[in-house]
């Protein structure tokens, strides 16, 4: 393009100004890229938590039991790390108002599947030795004043009789995001005292998989394995785990959105101002171009192109560096434990590119328009 030389000559007219303009786009898009990566990492965190575990229930309904024999078969499936099973007890402590969930758990596998629940080892050992033992959550213990050593009667509803338990341990959530109001006791005791029909069944299985990416496949395999049997299963990711986070992530998203908006708005003002100054400075030159025969439209595009080139070059550099930066960060092991996946999603790269382009257009619009409207006679008279 034969106008290119004029275009670039104008661009490089003030090198410091050019550098600063490029730098503002660079910085804005760098920030945008990093924020996009952080946001993606947080939402990826949710997904990972949600799909790390699968819950296997009876296809008919949650309250229908499934055979205990499934445990071994599920364990055989490729990608399954641990399987544990639970039963809903549904008892009452003193008064039906005092609701809290009680589960009969498989003590051998439970902690491998739910590592986020922390029980002091000594207490856990005591629990293992005690057939009538129970582990209660810290919140639950606080609510009813349970202490280790207490003997607590639970009135059965589904399973008749008053069941007495010894509080052997109190568990806590790893980071305060876990449910600390559960009551666990040994499946062995449940099986021993419960009716005949529960002796060979469990309420549901919770499966921990080696790689969240494989979860959908494993879920399908499990259900496929028990299809057409008297106890068909329905396997799903443990969504409940994720929903607790959802709100917080929403807030982070909103914050990132606000910061990003402010940055781009500022960028728009700064660039528009710079372009306006740069055009005003060369009013007489634009007038000469027009006198020589350059059309109003050509002059408009000259100004527009300048603004766009700055936006695209600066913006692209910012995005590229943010990609490199996040790629480097994702290699850091310390960070990976907090935010497992760090990469800018392609869609965000696209949005960033479009934003930079749009800011380039909008900020060039006013100066380009006034350059187009400029009348040669006025411009040359006033200088």
């Amino acid at each position: 393009m034969k106008y290119a030389r004029l275009l670039f000559a104008n661009l490089f007219r003030k090198k410091i100004r050019l550098s600063l303009s490029l730098l503002s786009f660079f910085a804005a898009l760098l920030l945008f890229g990093v924020l996009a990566a952080v946001k993606a990492a947080f939402s990826a965190g949710i997904d990972v938590a949600g799909v790390d575990r699968l819950v296997v229930i009876n296809r008919v309904s949650l309250i229908q039991p499934i055979p205990i024999s499934y445990a071994d078969q599920i364990q055989q499936i490729q990608g399954v790390k641990y399987v544990t099973h639970s039963n809903w007890f549904g008892g009452i402590y003193q008064d039906p108002k005092n609701f809290f969930p009680q589960f009969a758990i498989d003590v051998d596998t439970f902690r491998k599947v739910f590592p986020e629940f922390v029980v002091p080892d000594a207490q856990w050992q005591k629990f293992l030795q005690d057939r009538e033992g129970a582990v209660v959550g810290a919140k639950l213990a606080e609510r009813f004043g349970f202490k280790v050593g207490d003997r607590v009667p639970i009135q059965g509803t589904i399973f008749p009789g008053t069941w007495e338990f010894n509080i052997d341990a109190i568990y806590k959530g790893k980071d305060g995001n876990q449910d600390e109001s559960q009551f666990w006791f040994q499946y062995a005791y449940f099986k021993e005292r419960g009716p005949e029909r529960v002796k060979s069944t469990v309420g549901w299985y919770t499966v921990r998989v080696d790689n969240p990416d494989n979860a959908p496949r494993i879920a399908k395999t499990i259900d496929g394995q028990f299809a057409n049997s008297p106890y068909e299963t329905k396997t799903d990711t443990e969504k409940g785990f994720a929903t607790g986070f959802a709100k917080q992530i929403g807030n982070i998203g909103a914050l990132i959105f606000i910061v990003g908006s402010v940055v781009f708005f500022t960028l728009l003002l700064v660039t528009a101002n710079t372009m306006a100054i740069s055009v005003r400075e060369r009013t007489s030159e634009l007038a000469v171009l027009k006198a020589v025969g350059f059309s109003d439209m050509t002059v408009l595009w000259f100004v527009m192109a300048e603004s766009l080139i700055i936006a695209v070059v600066g913006g692209a550099a910012g995005l590229l560096v943010s990609m490199a930066l996040t790629a480097g960060l994702s290699k850091s092991a310390a960070l990976a434990s907090v935010l497992p996946i760090i990469a800018i999603p392609f869609s965000s790269l696209g949005v960033g590119a479009i934003l930079a382009f749009a800011v380039g257009i909008v900020s060039g619009l006013m100066p380009a328009y006034s350059a187009m409207r400029l009348r040669v006679v006025d411009a040359l008279r006033r200088v």
Partner: protein
């Protein structure tokens, strides 16, 4: 043959009843009032007159940079006063070479690139453009300054580059608004020598505004702007007696 009485019939530039009014703060200034002018191919006309008499206004109208309040301008058969803004721009590129008093050159372009500007609007190839630019810079005697930027040139040299740009596309006529106004005597004389060469050797048509009687003296005829119209100075008779200078 230059006339100011509107009697010309087949002149290159024909101006009839030209009126230009400006309104400024409610007050109306009638700058040009029924101005007539005929200029033939190869004429060299100097316009003089006190400041504010409308010399620049007239030149802008002749160059299609502005439109009159009334009257008509016809150049080589084209009625430019009835052209649209866009059509005028195209017409300017083909027919007019401008030389202003100052701010003529783009500071970020070299002399070569400045002269090349009008050619970018043509369909000439790169090598053809180069040939034309080199020729034009040769005519103004700046073949050795092609890669210089305006700030590396003297005022006189800058005006010569401007003249090279004005002639590079071989326009129908040149409009010069005080081209020597910013120059010292010596540079002004050099520029005038160059303009005379263009008129004599290259048969260019030149219309020039000047405050300088020495400069005006070189023209075929000097016209004075007086009360919005042109008046011949007594020089016309002498110029005709002495033949073309």
């Amino acid at each position: 043959m230059v006339r100011v009485d509107g009697s010309g019939t087949s002149s290159l530039i024909q101006v009839r009843g030209l009126d230009k009014k400006y309104s400024r703060g409610g007050e109306e200034i009638h700058v040009l009032q029924g101005l007539n002018l005929d200029v033939d191919q190869g004429d060299f006309v100097a316009f003089m007159g006190p400041s504010g008499s409308g010399k620049t206004t007239l030149l802008n109208l002749l160059g299609g940079l502005d439109v009159p309040t009334a009257g008509s301008i016809t150049v080589a058969g084209d009625a430019i006063t009835s052209m649209s803004r866009g059509a005028l721009t195209t017409w300017r590129a083909r027919h007019v070479g401008f030389v202003f008093q100052m701010y003529n050159l783009i500071p970020v372009l070299t002399a070569f690139q400045n002269v090349e500007l009008p050619l970018l609007l043509t369909s000439l190839s790169k090598s053809e453009r180069r040939k034309h630019v080199e020729t034009a810079l040769g005519v103004v005697g700046l073949s050795d300054r092609m890669q210089h930027f305006p700030r590396q040139l003297s005022g006189g040299q800058e005006q010569r580059v401007t003249i090279a740009r004005a002639i590079v596309s071989d326009p129908t006529f040149l409009l010069c608004d005080e081209p020597t106004g910013d120059l010292d005597r010596k540079s002004a004389d050099e520029i005038m020598h160059l303009v005379l060469t263009l008129v004599k050797d290259y048969k260019k048509t030149v219309l020039m505004v000047t405050h300088d009687p020495v400069v005006a003296e070189k023209a075929d005829i000097t016209l004075h702007l007086d009360k919005g119209a042109l008046v011949e100075s007594g020089k016309l008779a002498g110029a005709m007696a002495g033949g073309a200078r």
